[in-house]
Amino acid sequence: MGWRGYLRHLDYLLLAATLGVVAVGIAVVYSATYQDVEGQPGYYAVQQGVYAAVGLLVLLVLAAIDYEHYRRWQWALYGAMVLSIAAVYVVGSVTRGSRRWIELPFFNFQPSQFGLLLLTICLGAFLVDRMELLGSRRITAEALLYAAVPGALVFFQPDFGTASVYAVLTLALLYFYGTRWTHFAVLGAAAAGAAAFVLGVLPRLGIEFIKEYQMERLLVFVDPGRDPSGSGYNIVQSTIAIGSGALTGRGAEATQTAFDFLPEHHTDFIFAVIGERYGFVGACVLLALYGLLLWRALRIATLSRDMYGSIMAGGIAVMFLFQMFVNIGMTIGIMPVTGIPLPFVSYGGAAMITFLMMVGLLQSIHVRATADPRERRARR
C-alpha cells in the first residue's frame, strides 16, 4: 500500500475529533496555568503543545504500520512492558509517596501509561492467537493472569487509579474477544467479594492492604462534607468551580482557578476549569467531542478486517470511556478521587502521547480495514 492509499484510508473524522479535543485541552491548560509560572504565561501550554506534536507524529507513524506485526512480537513487547513498569521500583522518582515515573532528560517517562497501549496490543494478540479456546474457562483465567502481572506492578507503586484502568482494559479485551457472559458474572461476584474482604475484613485484622489515603478518599467520596478543608477539599472546591460556571461559564472572571482554590487544576481537575470558565455549554462541547471519538473507535471495531483489530479497537474505546467518566465523575463528585487523567486534556506528556498512539493504532486498523481489497470488492 502506497502513500496515497494510506492517506486516503485514514479516518479523518476520528483525526478531527482527536485534534479538536487536543486543541481544547491545550487552550484550557493555558487558561488554567497562565499565572502559575511568573513571566511565562504559556509555559505549560507550550509544553503540552510539544507533547501533542510529538504524539501526532507518532500517531501518523503508527497508522502507517500494519498492526499485524505486533502480533508476532507479542512476547517481546510483553516483556518490555513488564520490565519497564518493574524498572520504576528501581530507578523511579517518588512523587507523593508513589513511584510512577522514570526521569529522562526531556521527559518524565511513565511506563504504566505506555503499558496500557502495550497491554492492549499484547493481550489482544494473546487472545486472538487462542481463538479456538473461546468460551473456555481456561482462556479467561490465562488472560487474567497475563494482565495481572503488569496490573499488580502498577497497583503496588502504588497507583490505584491506573491499576483500575488495567483491570477495566483487561475485561474490555475479554469482552470483545467474546468471553461468555457467565464468566463476567462470576468475575463481578468475585470482585465484590474481594472488595468486601479488603475494605471490611483486613483492616480489622490489622493488615493494611490499601493505603490510608486511599481509604480516606473512598470515605470522602461517600461523604464529601467529612473534612471540607482536608481530604474533601479537592471535591468541594471543584464542585464549587463547576457549579459557579453555570450555563455559559465565568470566562476571565473565573476565580477558583485563578486564585488557586482548585488544586491540580491543570492535571487531574482540569475538567473543573472547563466547567468554571466555559460552563455547561463548554462541558457539552467537550463531551460531544468525546462522543465523536467513541463512535469512531467503536465503528472501527466493527469495520476491522479481523478479530485482532476489533478487540484492540474495542479495548481502546472502553479505555477512553472509562477514563473520561472516572475523571469527570471525580470532579463533579460522583466518583472517588483517583489520579486518572482526562484523555487528551489533562496536562502530562506520558498520557498525551499514549492516548495519541492509541488513536494511531485505531487509524492503523481503519486503514487496513478499508484498504482491504476483498472488502472493496464486496462493496462494489
Partner: protein, 647 residues
C-alpha cells in the same frame, strides 16, 4: 491499489487463525452485539454526567457562585481611630498617635528559616526568642494572618528591619493607632489603658457586642465609655487567593471606619494638675515635719451641686505610656513592687482608710438629728473620757492634753474635741439600734458612691451585726462601749474612701443631696457635635433639718477661721469650711486628712485631701487643700505651711 497484488505466503509456522485471507472475516454477530451493549453503557454514563452537570450548573449555579465569592473575598478589619479624652474645657488628656507594629506572617517563613528569623527578630526587637516562638506556635488563626509580635516599635528598629528585608522573610510592618498622653501622667489612674478583651470579659453580658481579639478599654474611663470612644471598625473586602494572599491592592467593597467620639470629662486639667502637685507638696511638708514615712496621698475635688469630679488625684502615680503597646514585665514589676506603694491604684476611690476626726461631722449630724444632743448640749473636756470611772479602768484621751473645757457642738467641731464626741458615741452606744452607722451609710460612707469607672472600694461601717458575723471569738463578737466611742472619732473598724467622705461633705454643703460622683460630661462627634450628654441624677436626698445643718456648717467654718485649720485658712479670700483629721493606724504614722467645702455661704466644691502617714491633718493636708482652692478660684495666695500640734 488498482491491481491486486499476489498474496504473500505465510511466513510463520504457526498458522494465524484469524484475520487475513485464510480466515476471511470476520465481523461476527457477537462483535456487533457487544459493541451495541457498550454503546448503551456509554450513553448511560454520559447521561449521568450530563444530568449531574445540569444539576450543578443550571439548578444550583447561584449557590456555587456565592461559595466561589466567599472563597475569594476576605474581610479585613480596619480599626477605627479611637476618640480622644479631654477635660471639661477641651484640653486633650488622651489622644491617638500613629504607631508601627512588627508582625510576622507564618506562611511566608519557611521551616528552615524559622529559627534564624526568630532569633534575628528577637535581637532587633529586644524580645526573648522563646516568647516569639511561643506566640507563633500558640497562634490559632490562619497561617496567612499577620501575627503582631510587638507594638509601638521605634522608627530606628523598623528601619533596620526594612533595610535587610532578605534577612527577615515574612516580617511585616503594620501602621496602627496608639494612645498618647500629651499631659504625661495627669490623671493616670482614672484613664485606664487599652488591651485585648479577655476570655472572662467575653462571657459577661456587658461585653455581648464584642468579639475575641477586640482591643478595648481596660479600667478607667477607657473601659466605662468604650462604647463611644471606640467608634465603628470598618471592613475592607479584598480579593485573596487560596493562601489568603491579596490579589489586588484595591478593596472591592466594604465599609469605612467611623472614628470614635471624643469624651469630654468633668475633670479640669488645671485643677487636676494642681491637686497632684498639692499632694506632693503635702508629702514634702510631712517630710519637713519629720514624718518620713509619708509616701501616698489622695485628693478629691467634687462639685457639690451635681457630683462632677473636677479633679481626683492619687500619689504616687505612673506614666500611662507604659501600657502602650503592651506592658513589659519589667514595667509591671516596677509598678508592683511594695516600695512603689501601688501607683496603679487610685487611692481616692480604691483606697480605704479610717477617716479620723473628719468623721465628727457625721457624728454631729446624727446626734443632732436623733436628739442625742441639742445645740445647747455641752460636755466638759478635761482631756480624758470618761471623767469618772464609769467604764472601769479604761479611758480615752483627747488629743489636747488638759482638755478643751465645756464645749457645745460647734466649738467641738471647730477645735475637734475628742471628748465631746466620745460622749456622743457613748450616748449612741446606750441607745437601741445602730443609729450612727445608719447615718454614716445614709450620708454615703461604707458603700460605693456609684462613680462611673470600675474598681471602686466599698468600705466598712461597723455595726454589732457585722461584729457578730466577722469575728470568731465570743469576746470579739460583742459590740462594746469602746467600739461606739472609737467610731465616733472616726477610728476603730471604720473604713472609708476619700471619695465617700467627699460625697458626705458635699451633702452637708448642699443640704442633704447625695450626689453620684462621675467623670463623664458628654461625648462629641468627630465633627464636634454633642452626641450624648450624660445625666447623673442624685442618688437620694437625706432629710437634715436646717438647724442641724447650720450648727454643723458653723462648726466647720469656725474650724477654718479660729479652729484646727485656722493657721491655713484664716483670712483666706474664699470662705472655706473644713475639718482636719489625724487618723491613727496601728504600726504606722498618723494619716492626715482635710475634708472641706467652699464657699461657705454658696457651696460649690468639696475638697478632700488625705496623706498616708503624713502626720497632722492641719499641718499637711490642709495646706495641700489650700493649693487646690487656689486653683479652683483662680487665686494666688502662695504656699502655707499649716500648724503642727493640732488634730
Amino acid at each position: 491499489m488498482r491491481t491486486r497484488r499476489p498474496r504473500q505466503p505465510v511466513r510463520r509456522e504457526r498458522p494465524i487463525r484469524t484475520g487475513r485471507a485464510d480466515h476471511p472475516l470476520l465481523l461476527t454477530p457477537s462483535i456487533a452485539l457487544r459493541v451495541a451493549v457498550l454503546v448503551g453503557i456509554a450513553v448511560v454514563l454520559v447521561a449521568v454526567i450530563l444530568f449531574r452537570l445540569w444539576f450543578l450548573q443550571i439548578l444550583s449555579a447561584g449557590r456555587y457562585v456565592d461559595q466561589a465569592n466567599d472563597n475569594r473575598l476576605r474581610s479585613v478589619e480596619i480599626v477605627a481611630p479611637r476618640g480622644a479624652i479631654v477635660d471639661r474645657d477641651g484640653k486633650v488628656i488622651v489622644e491617638n498617635r500613629p504607631g508601627l507594629a512588627i508582625g510576622i506572617r507564618p506562611m511566608d517563613v519557611s521551616e528552615e528559616d524559622f529559627e534564624a528569623v526568630t532569633e534575628r527578630l528577637a535581637k532587633v526587637l529586644g524580645m526573648r526568642v522563646k516568647k516569639i516562638r511561643r506566640e507563633l506556635e500558640e497562634y490559632g488563626g490562619y497561617p496567612y494572618d499577620l501575627v503582631i509580635l510587638k507594638e509601638d516599635v521605634s522608627r530606628k528598629v523598623v528601619g533596620r528591619i526594612l533595610e535587610r528585608k532578605d534577612l527577615f522573610p515574612g516580617v511585616e510592618v503594620q501602621r496602627n493607632y496608639l494612645r498618647s498622653y500629651p499631659e504625661g501622667d495627669l490623671a493616670a489612674q482614672l484613664l485606664g489603658h487599652l488591651g485585648e478583651i479577655s476570655a472572662e470579659q467575653l462571657k459577661q453580658p456587658a461585653y455581648r457586642r464584642y468579639a475575641a481579639g477586640d482591643v478595648i478599654g481596660q479600667g478607667g474611663v477607657e473601659a466605662s465609655y468604650d462604647r463611644w470612644l471606640r467608634g465603628r471598625d470598618g471592613v475592607a473586602k479584598i480579593e485573596v487567593d487560596a493562601y489568603g494572599r491579596p490579589k489586588g491592592s484595591d478593596p472591592v467593597g466594604g465599609r469605612l471606619p467611623e472614628s470614635g467620639d471624643t469624651l469630654v470629662t468633668t475633670l479640669d486639667a488645671d485643677v487636676q494638675e494642681t491637686a497632684e502637685k498639692a499632694l506632693r507638696y503635702g508629702i514634702d511638708l510631712a517630710h519637713a515635719n519629720h514624718d518620713w514615712a509619708a509616701n501616698g496621698a489622695a485628693a478629691v475635688v467634687l462639685d457639690v451641686r451635681n457630683g462632677e469630679v473636677l479633679a481626683m488625684a492619687s500619689y504616687p502615680s505612673f506614666d500611662p505610656e507604659v501600657y502602650v503597646g503592651g506592658l513589659s514585665p519589667k514595667d509591671w514589676a516596677k509598678l508592683r513592687k511594695p516600695s512603689a506603694n501601688n501607683p496603679i491604684v487610685h487611692k481616692a476611690f480604691q483606697g480605704l482608710y479610717a477617716p479620723g476626726s473628719t468623721y465628727k461631722v457625721i457624728d454631729a449630724v446624727a446626734a443632732l438629728e436623733e436628739g442625742v444632743i441639742s445645740p445647747y448640749t455641752r460636755f466638759y473636756c478635761n482631756g480624758r473620757f470618761p471623767p469618772t470611772g464609769e467604764l472601769g479602768k479604761t479611758h480615752w484621751n483627747c488629743w489636747l492634753e488638759g482638755g478643751h473645757g465645756r464645749d457645745n457642738v460647734t466649738e467641738a467641731l471647730s477645735e475637734s474635741c475628742d471628748v465631746f464626741f466620745y460622749n456622743v458615741g457613748y450616748a449612741f452606744y446606750k441607745r437601741p439600734g445602730s443609729e450612727l452607722a445608719e447615718w454614716s451609710v445614709r450620708l454615703g460612707l461604707g458603700r460605693p458612691t456609684g462613680l462611673d469607672i470600675p474598681g471602686e472600694a466599698e468600705g466598712l461601717v461597723p455595726t454589732p451585726e457585722w461584729r457578730q458575723e466577722y469575728f470568731t471569738t465570743e469576746i470579739d463578737k460583742i459590740w462594746k462601749p469602746g467600739n461606739s466611742i472609737l467610731m465616733a472619732i472616726g477610728q476603730g473598724d471604720l473604713q472609708v474612701s476619700p471619695l465617700q467622705l467627699a460625697v458626705a461633705y458635699a451633702a452637708i454643703a448642699n443640704g442633704g443631696t447625695i450626689v453620684e460622683p462621675h467623670l463623664a460630661l458628654k461625648t462629641l462627634s468627630p465633627q464636634g457635635k454633642v452626641t450624648r450628654k450624660f445625666a447623673f441624677e442624685p442618688r437620694r436626698t437625706v432629710e437634715i433639718s436646717s438647724g442641724t445643718l447650720q450648727q454643723v456648717r458653723k462648726g466647720l467654718r469656725m474650724a477654718a477661721t479660729v479652729g484646727t485649720s485656722a493657721a491655713v485658712f484664716a483670712g483666706y479670700p474664699v470662705d472655706v469650711a473644713g475639718k482636719t483629721g489625724t487618723a491613727e493606724v496601728y504600726g504606722k504614722g498618723d494619716y492626715a486628712w482635710y475634708a472641706s467645702y467652699a464657699p461657705y455661704d454658696d457651696p460649690k466644691y468639696a475638697v478632700v485631701v488625705m496623706i498616708e502617714q503624713g502626720g497632722h491633718g492641719g499641718a499637711v493636708a490642709a495646706p495641700a487643700a489650700r493649693m487646690i482652692y487656689d486653683a479652683l478660684f483662680d487665686l494666688d495666695t502662695g504656699l502655707s505651711t499649716g500648724a503642727t500640734g493640732t488634730d
